[in-house]
């Protein structure tokens, strides 16, 4: 590719960059899980210095963010909630912002989101580059031996939950199964989606009609339940209602249908006894 003419000033800068850039190994895709993360010391927003990680804790968590970005603002709010929810546990927290971000804006954002963790300043985005991070916000979760467990980009749904489970895995409080369940939660169908459960509504109403002394209506309702799904309990209620009407043959037939569908149904004996009684 062709090189455009450059000013002497730019050439000097590029010479400096050239020397610096070849020294640290750079990554150009996200750092993979298992990568060892260098525990760099960075300037803090409050004027001191702090390290990205700590070997004294079970879990290290850092979040790369930037100012003037809605997702970063939301991520920091949710991180503040995570920080609160996991307070007192063996976790080292750090937020990381580019040195190009105006400090006043960073301070305002941090104050607005309620974040308690120290804010480290990434001079010239060097750490951002080393980790191959190409977007904000990004959360890194690292163990006590500085091994990267995950880089989590922002997500709108269940963000804090996913982060907390990952952190809890390092704390020994959650398992891979918990993570799988959080990342792929069980579907939440609308009531009535399961025909067996839907049929049970009619069975329940049939039972109530039977209790009200309306056995004919109870039978009709139980029959409606059976049109939806073959639930043993519908036959049980039907058998009781027939017994109440003195129709013992129909009652016996209904009990047998219930027994066929659910041999262990606890109401079978009692229901049979209704017609057997003198």
């Amino acid at each position: 590719m062709t090189r455009s003419p450059r000013s002497p000033r730019r050439s000097i800068l590029l010479s400096i960059l050239a020397v610096v850039a070849v020294l640290p190994p750079t990554a150009h895709a996200h750092a993979e899980a298992g990568t060892l993360i260098e525990n760099v010391e960075l300037r803090t927003l409050s004027g001191g210095k702090d390290r990205l990680l700590s070997a004294k804790v079970k879990a290290n968590v850092f979040v790369f963010f930037r100012t003037g970005q809605e997702r970063s603002a939301d991520a920091l709010k949710q991180m503040a909630q995570c920080e609160h929810d996991l307070a007192g546990k063996s976790i080292h927290w750090a937020a990381v912002v580019s040195s190009s971000a105006p400090p006043d804006e960073v301070k305002a954002l941090v104050a607005q989101t309620g974040l308690k963790m120290p804010v480290l300043v990434d001079e010239g985005d060097v750490l951002y580059d080393r980790l191959g991070i190409r977007l904000h916000p990004m959360v890194g979760i690292v163990d006590a031996k500085f091994k990267l467990m995950a880089l989590e980009p922002y997500r709108q749904i269940d963000y804090c939950e996913v982060l907390k489970v990952r952190i809890r895995m390092l704390l020994g409080e959650a398992t891979q199964a918990d993570l799988d369940k959080t990342v792929n939660p069980e579907k939440s169908p609308l009531p009535g989606a399961d025909p067996m459960k839907k049929a049970m509504r009619d069975v329940n109403m049939a039972r109530r009609l039977y209790e009200l002394g309306l056995p004919e209506k109870a039978i009709k309702k139980a029959q409606r339940a059976l049109e939806i799904a073959p639930v043993a309990q519908a036959y049980v209620v039907m058998a009781k209602a027939y017994a109440k009407l003195g129709q013992c043959a129909e009652s016996a037939q209904a009990v047998e249908m219930a027994a066929k569908l659910q041999p262990t149904n606890p109401d079978l004996g009692e229901t049979r006894a209704l017609c057997a009684a003198p």
Partner: protein, 361 residues
């Protein structure tokens, strides 16, 4: 290195400070939900029978005693249980299980009658009023999206309406979603031939994602709502922020606000960088080179935003000519960078490991 880093940092900081004042001006990604206490108690009185289209079975049968203390339509008395929900759960015990899920809808937890008329209704499921109207009485922010949107989403107003995607009782997913956004979206967007309101063909995402295994992070996270405003929006394809509709578009940061919602706009605005992108030849930022021109390339000229077959989400081909013939993008990832075979331009290689390789290849 210690002496050089501050110089580098200062230099980069100086460059980027000038750009720091630039801010994405996209509409807010999350809409405020103004929950108003309007639905605390639907009108539970029965509608005149000639007006109702759906009746609750006990009411229809005159069996008031199923729910009330007296089985007398003229004097039913109070309900038999201490709370409305306990009364309903006597028959609807499956809803008790639903309400045990992690995320609960407050009105549903308070009283089923916040949304349902227990006697009869003109609406299915005995809703006290039309669903979108009822939900958006409290969810005013969503109402604004639905009613004023330039681009509408049929999923909100057809079929089961709000409950195409949400379970208004309780759910295992945040925002009372029935499943993660991806599972909901791909469930419908899995057909060939679906079109937008203006007749444009829509992607069969199930097929596309099956055939292209390098997925964009939001897709991996099943988070379609990271980029799409599912209730309706101002941008084409329901995008949460502006993005050029046409393949070629002059570079204006505001037009690319969608991508910069996550990605750093400096990846395109900085002519030189050693840290912001791997797509550089030495320190020459090749994103900058491609985008900052009169017929600037949009992000999707090279990147396939949902899923691709090539690394870095590089698209397989670009549409060419009036019939949209696909011109292959022959990208090859190399240990020190990559190369693009002759398609849009002659074969070119870039090296991002040193700063001495910026000469033409």
């Amino acid at each position: 290195m210690d002496k050089r880093l501050p110089i580098l940092a200062a230099a980069l900081a100086a460059i980027s400070l000038g750009l720091g004042a630039q801010r994405a001006d996209a509409a807010p990604m999350k809409t405020e939900v103004k929950k108003q206490a309007l639905r605390r108690g639907a009108d539970v009185a029965p509608l005149p029978k000639d007006k109702a289209l759906h009746s609750h079975a006990p009411f229809e049968g005159g069996d008031c005693g199923v729910c009330h203390q007296n089985n007398d339509p003229k004097n039913p008395g109070p309900i038999r249980h201490a709370s409305v929900n306990e009364q309903c759960f006597e028959c609807h015990d499956d809803v008790r299980d639903v309400m045990a899920r992690k995320y609960k809808h407050v009105p549903a937890a308070e009283a089923c009658t916040d949304c349902h008329n227990p006697h009869n209704s003109v609406e299915t499921a005995l809703l006290a009023s039309e669903m979108v109207d009822m939900c958006t009485r409290c969810h005013a922010g969503i109402k604004q999206q639905v009613t004023t949107a330039k681009v509408r989403h049929d999923a909100v107003t057809t079929g089961k309406k709000c409950s195409n995607c949400h379970n208004p009782h309780a759910a295992n997913v945040e925002k009372l979603l029935i499943a993660l956004p991806f599972d909901l979206c791909v469930n419908c967007h899995a057909k060939d031939g679906m079109t937008t309101d203006d007749g444009r063909l829509m992607t069969n995402f199930k097929k596309w994602l099956d055939e292209n295994k390098v997925w964009h992070d939001p897709v991996k996270a099943k988070d379609c709502s990271a980029c799409h405003r599912t209730h309706g929006g101002e941008n084409f394809r329901l995008l949460v922020a502006p993005y050029p509709e046409k393949f070629y578009a002059p570079y204006d940061r505001k037009l690319y606000a969608l991508c910069y919602g996550c990605h750093n706009d400096k990846v395109v605005s900085e002519a030189e960088t050693t840290t912001l992108t791997g797509f550089r030849d030495g320190s020459r930022n090749l994103h900058y080179v491609h985008v900052n021109r009169e017929r600037g390339r949009t992000c999707r000229a090279c990147h396939e935003v949902h899923a691709s077959k090539q690394d870095h989400h590089i698209r397989d081909g670009v549409p060419y000519g009036p019939k949209g013939w696909m011109l292959k993008v022959g990208f090859t990832k190399l240990p020190n960078g990559g190369s693009c075979a002759k398609t849009c331009h002659d074969t070119k290689t870039y090296n991002n490991k040193t700063l001495t390789s910026a000469a033409a290849k």
